[in-house]
């Protein structure tokens, strides 16, 4: 795979942003930025103070990721690059926990034959839930509400008929 000098520049920008910002947040951290196969940038943070960095339900980490995405794309030069910020496997652990929660809610929706609403999530996390349920034949999932309170609704398909 080839990486353009352009992508390298943006990887460096994301790295130096995080290296400036994390100490100012009082977080002692080490950052590695790499380019993923799909062209997105992955900033992986290791820190002795993970909970302060991640925040409840990933709130602080997601806020940093939102800012890093706008920052990496503020140059107006067309091609959008996605930035993912991770901290010691947090994204994978969160994905597993969302998938477990989705399957549990799906089982309950079928069992009780009614719709279930999950807590509000961002688009990235809603997508994980929809994907986790996509292969279940007796379940349909949909998103409702307005951002930032948009949430997934899980319904047994049989009840719609």
């Amino acid at each position: 795979m080839t990486t353009s000098p352009h992508a390298n520049q943006r990887a460096n920008d994301v790295l130096s942003l995080l290296e400036d910002v994390l100490p100012l947040m009082g977080v002692d951290a080490r950052v590695v930025v790499s380019t993923e196969a799909d062209g997105s940038l992955l900033a992986d943070i290791s820190s002795s103070d993970l909970s302060a960095l991640i925040g409840g339900r990933g709130r602080t980490l997601n806020a940093l990721q939102c800012i890093a995405n706008v920052a990496a794309n503020s140059g107006n030069d067309g091609d959008w690059v996605r930035v993912v910020i991770d901290a010691e496997g947090y994204r994978e652990r969160r994905r597993e926990s969302l998938e477990r929660c989705a399957l549990k809610a799906a089982a309950q929706a079928v069992e009780e034959n009614r719709e279930l609403e999950l807590e509000p999530m961002n688009a990235f996390e809603r997508r994980i839930v929809h994907c986790a349920l996509a292969d279940l034949p007796d379940i349909a999932s949909d998103s409702r509400g307005e951002e930032p309170y948009r949430y997934v609704v899980i319904a047994p398909t049989a009840s719609k008929e």
């Binding site: 910002v21 100012l24 009082g26 602080t60 806020a63 939102c66 800012i67 920052a71 503020s74 930032p148």
Partner: protein
Amino acid sequence: MENQDRLRLLAETLVVAVASVKDEVRVTTRERGDELVLHVQVAADDMGRVIGKKGRVASALRTVLRAAAGDEGDVNIEIDDK
């Protein structure tokens, strides 16, 4: 006092990264009761970028600043063009 400087510099670093007209970013501080208010000024063209769709970027800035302030009091930001 030292803490205010740190939070001001943090806000400035984040907003400069997001803005396209970087040398027009100014961040000043003032106290409003127990709350530290960070007043952010950016070029008019950067207002949309710094606030974001449905205020998403402004809200992310506030989240990071509050995490950085920890239990040392509340922080808020105000964003204006010049």
